[in-house]
Symmetry: C2
DNA sequence: CTTGACCTTCCAGTGACTGGAACCCTTATG
DNA sequence: CATAAGGGTTCCAGTCACTGGAAGGTCAAG
């Protein structure tokens, strides 16, 4: 399987797949002409990575998760720890965004949005 | 006012203030010894920027907002347009994070987190 | 034989800083 | 007067996870 097929089946851009090889997440072999060749295993890993990334795991966490996946004698506690840390990070971000949303929503609501210069949004920014 | 005083009053790191000068958001003058000197106006701009950034506006939007703030003949509609676009972006991110949170929360909940290898989190990542 | 679609590597850029090195200026102290 | 501490300065590199683009090799079809 060459890179564009893999790109199609995994949904990952070819550039991203090359990048994952560069940072050592996958190790495709090479054909005689220098083209990357992807085994079932590599494609499987890439699907794993795509899924983990879509859940927002940082690439380095994905590396750890892949290693745990490969380790038959892993403890599920180790996996859960990574996932819980990520969950906390997500919650932190949601809280931050929600606070922004609330404030900004109020400001936008209060702004007439017409041709006059008077603007509560700018007023808030200027006066805190 | 020198940079560390400004840093203290605005809450912005000195590095960030220098960066804002570099990209042309502020233009402090210089004392004879080369030190930056900040007027009331510059400090006010920095407070504006700090507030806008804390609401998550990208730096380029902050530049536009500052320009509108300076323009006495602005239309509040122009401000509102920027704010609404940002609001949509925030909502998009919240939706994305919430979807992640829901999925990941379920997986974490289903994982025993003990010394056994069996793990629904890895299972999900491997099987989509 | 050429065309077009593949593939390769390498370099630069993204956003918004942040860390660190190397060096200058000012003031207080021994 | 020397020096040390605590300001300030510039410039370069690194962050994260790609992404765009240039320059060029490879391959199958017509």
């Amino acid at each position: 399987m060459n890179i564009s097929n893999v790109s199609d089946t995994t949904g990952l851009p070819a550039k991203t797949i090359r990048y994952y090889e560069e940072i050592g997440l996958i190790t495709p072999t090479r054909a005689a002409n220098g083209y990357r060749t992807f085994s079932e295993t590599e494609v499987h890993k890439l699907n794993f990575l795509a899924r983990a990334r879509s859940l927002g795991f940082p690439v380095e966490s994905c590396r750890s998760l892949l290693a745990l996946y490969d380790d038959q004698s892993r403890a599920s506690a180790d996996v859960k720890e990574i996932a819980e840390a990520h969950l906390e990070e997500i919650d932190r971000k949601i809280a931050e965004l929600t606070a922004m949303r609330d404030t900004l929503g109020d400001l936008v609501h209060a702004c007439a949005g017409d041709s006059r210069p008077d603007c509560p949004i700018l007023k808030d920014l200027a006066e805190g």
